[in-house]
Amino acid sequence: MFEYAPAPESRSVVDLKPSYGLFIDGKFVDPADGGSFKSINPASEEVLAEIAEGGAQDVDRAVRAARKAYDKVWGPMPGRDRAKYLFRIARIIQERSRELAVLESLDNGKPIKESRDVDLPLVAAHFFYYAGWADKLEYAGFGRRPTSQHSGAYPQPLGVAAQVIPWNFPLLMLAWKIAPALAAGNTVVLKPAETTPLTALLFAEICQQADLPAGVVNIVTGAGETGRALVEHADVDKVAFTGSTDVGRAIARAVAGSRKKLTLELGGKAANIVFDDAPVDQAVEGIVNGIFFNQGHVCCAGSRLLVQESVAEQVLESLKRRMAQLRLGDPLDKNTDIGAINSAAQLSRIRELTEAGAAEGAQQWSPPCELPERGFWFAPTIFTGVTQAHRIAREEIFGPVLSVLTFRTPAEAVEKANNTPYGLSAGIWTEKGSRILWTADRLRAGVVWANTFNKFDPTSPFGGYKESGYGREGGRHGLEAYLNV
């Protein structure tokens, strides 16, 4: 046997403070009512830091700071100057990427190889990409007409953006929100998730390091109530949310009838369709990547495998063999493939749904896999014998759990793939180009990957159909949400 010795990434690169305040108007400040909560390492349950809990008063202070910065500094600033700040931020992120990656893995539980090789490169890429747009907005395809009180020959920003992001890709979701907003000339108040606030706070330090004018970026930490105060604040012009469909609905109701512009990126239950002529070994890699990447805490995860019945046995056999190679454990070990579940609450949600899957008669399988004693863990799991009627085929599990269904014909594959209230992403595996095009045309999903999965790029728009939300992030399209067009 070839046993890999532990290869832990050093934590010493991260300088954690015992407590963090709110980042408002360029400074870290204490919350008005002095509330706080703890952020823990989900792999060990160790407390990482004490985090300020922002209340309505703090949110108001942050929105006023953002308004002032928008009116006085950032709104009037020429695009080429805004670009310089964004390029500077992108470069600092690259320079401090190891520190950010280690901190992300500590706070979120994701394996260091993913925060190092996926999250951080994409974060920097998003800032670089949108920095490039800042002085070219009139060429973004939304016209050159003056449309706001700041008259000029450019598409105009909206004003103050309230942004609420999830815990699955803390820093990457921050980049998806902040980079286009700032490039378009808006200022922002961002609320990170309560289980993963640390990289956003380190990002606030990076804003200081980049000499970003005070009030352009404000970070208010807290839980659901803080988020509610932010999206309901009367002086906010734009609300952007990524998270669960339930919260998305509540936000849509809260902003209904107001002037606020809204984009939502919500849940998913993506179909990953494997046809009988698929490149099997690569399809298996794609299935594994689709559902086990980031412990399945991915809104666009390929959580429903639709495999053609004639090759189902062969594909499942290969999939099981491959799953036996997945290494679960310490997120900071460079050889870890599956890290920790982000929170106790998420772990109990995953358990509840998998228990429902087993109770409804689907067959559950996991490779032999030792779970650490402390922390929140769930072994990579597949369910076979799943039908469209099972809860595990309909509800988003948001964990390392794959539901396997079979189909007989391409038409049936499309029908089953679309038979969900969600429509965020889908995957197609076949060696036949014409079948890729035929299928992609018929899938109601915002992103369709062919012979690959979970590929992200700042130049490519991302967003949902149906209850997966509306609006697009990324690419030229992502600017629209932050411009008055």
């Binding site: 046997m1 070839f2 046993e3 890999y4 010795a5 532990p6 290869a7 190889k113 090789d117 002529d277 698929a278 490149p279 099997v280 070994d281 690569q282 399809a283 890699e285 794609g286 046995e313 056999e317 063999r321 036996a324 190679q325 460079k334 050889n335 490779p367 060696e431 012979n451 690959t452």
Partner: protein, 329 residues
């Protein structure tokens, strides 16, 4: 975890009887998606192998080296020196294992055989008009017999790439079958001596696509190859991680289908310990521990050995020794 087939073992021995059957079978194998295969190979290359795992990997890699010299300028003196190094790669450290085999041209086999006799180090010889394979079949077979007669117990043959690329699969198949016979025919008169093992070089750099690599791998295995090997080392593109991945998947699937295990040998361009470890990780996670043995996996290399020895010394002593402390043979 090892590859196991739930389906019954298949008898594929009849396929070679007809060009049509061979073609239908080879073109019916699942395709290889180039982007996906290269991405998987790159991903395996990011494994971090340290301390005890690294020490274990280095010793295993040394035991897997086919120490090779294939030059027009090879002389008895040169190959004797190489064989001596194969036996004792690190004269300063008796705990250092010997390599897997020495690989030379047929004319050099007798000189190497004298040195290696009884040592456990195998003697491989390239044959069949290496490296191009562009000679009449009788000459290729005579080449093979001569090498076996002279003492080679492993034959590294080249396939007829021209015939393969022209779609004449049966011709390639028949040549491999004939060469395998030639490997064994020398045994007839000598008792107790096993036939020479046959390694079939696909020359993947000339086959160009991964689909071709997968088909050629199956073709060679169906015809009786004991090992499949990537390259001669004589064309610009030699062994790569993705090509080796596709070949490993082929031997894994072949064993699942037929029950027979076939070895894999990447050759050419593997120069550093870091590279060698990437290959071992790939073997470990693609086909499993059954292949992590010199009987089933080899490196065709020459300069790799000294880098392995340097890293080995670094691990045992804590300091890097200069290249002058390692023998150049």
């Amino acid at each position: 975890m090892t590859a196991t087939a739930t389906s019954a073992r298949s008898d594929l021995s009849e396929l070679g009887r007809s060009e049509t059957a061979l073609r239908t079978f080879l073109h019916g194998l699942p395709g290889v998606d180039q982007v996906g295969a290269e991405q998987r190979a790159a991903q395996l290359g990011t494994r971090s192998i340290k301390t005890t795992a690294k020490a274990e990997a280095i010793d295993l890699a040394i035991r897997m080296v086919d120490l090779t010299t294939l030059e027009g300028a090879d002389t008895p003196g040169k190959v004797r020196a190489l064989a001596a190094k194969a036996l004792r790669p690190d004269p300063a450290d008796p705990s250092c294992p010997h390599v897997g085999a020495v690989c030379v041209y047929p004319s050099m086999v007798p000189y190497v055989a004298e040195v290696l006799r009884g040592s456990g180090v195998h003697l491989a010889s390239v044959a069949t008009s290496f490296p191009s394979g562009q000679a009449p079949l009788e000459i290729k077979l005579a080449d093979t017999r001569a090498a076996v007669e002279a003492g080679a117990d492993e034959i590294d043959m080249v396939i007829n790439r021209g015939a393969f690329l022209a779609g004449r699969y049966a011709e390639v198949y028949d040549e491999i079958v004939a060469t395998k016979e030639a490997c064994g025919s020398a045994d007839a008169g000598r008792q107790g001596r096993p036939r020479a093992h046959l390694k079939v070089i696909l020359e993947t750099g000339e086959l160009a696509t991964y689909d071709n690599v997968r088909r050629a791998s199956w073709l060679a295995m169906l015809a009786g190859a004991d090992f499949i090997k990537t390259s001669t080392g004589k064309v610009p593109v030699a062994a790569t991680l993705p090509v080796t991945l596709v070949m490993l998947e082929a031997v894994r699937d072949f064993r699942a289908a037929t029950g027979r295990q076939v070895g894999v040998k990447p050759a050419g361009g593997i120069k550093t310990t870091k590279d060698a470890i990437k290959y071992l990780v790939m073997v470990n996670e693609t086909v499993g521990p059954d292949w992590l043995h010199p009987d089933w996996f080899r490196f065709g290399a020459s300069s790799l050995l000294n880098d392995l020895l340097m890293q080995r010394t670094k691990l045992t002593t804590g300091v890097y020794a200069g290249p002058d402390y390692f023998t150049l043979d």
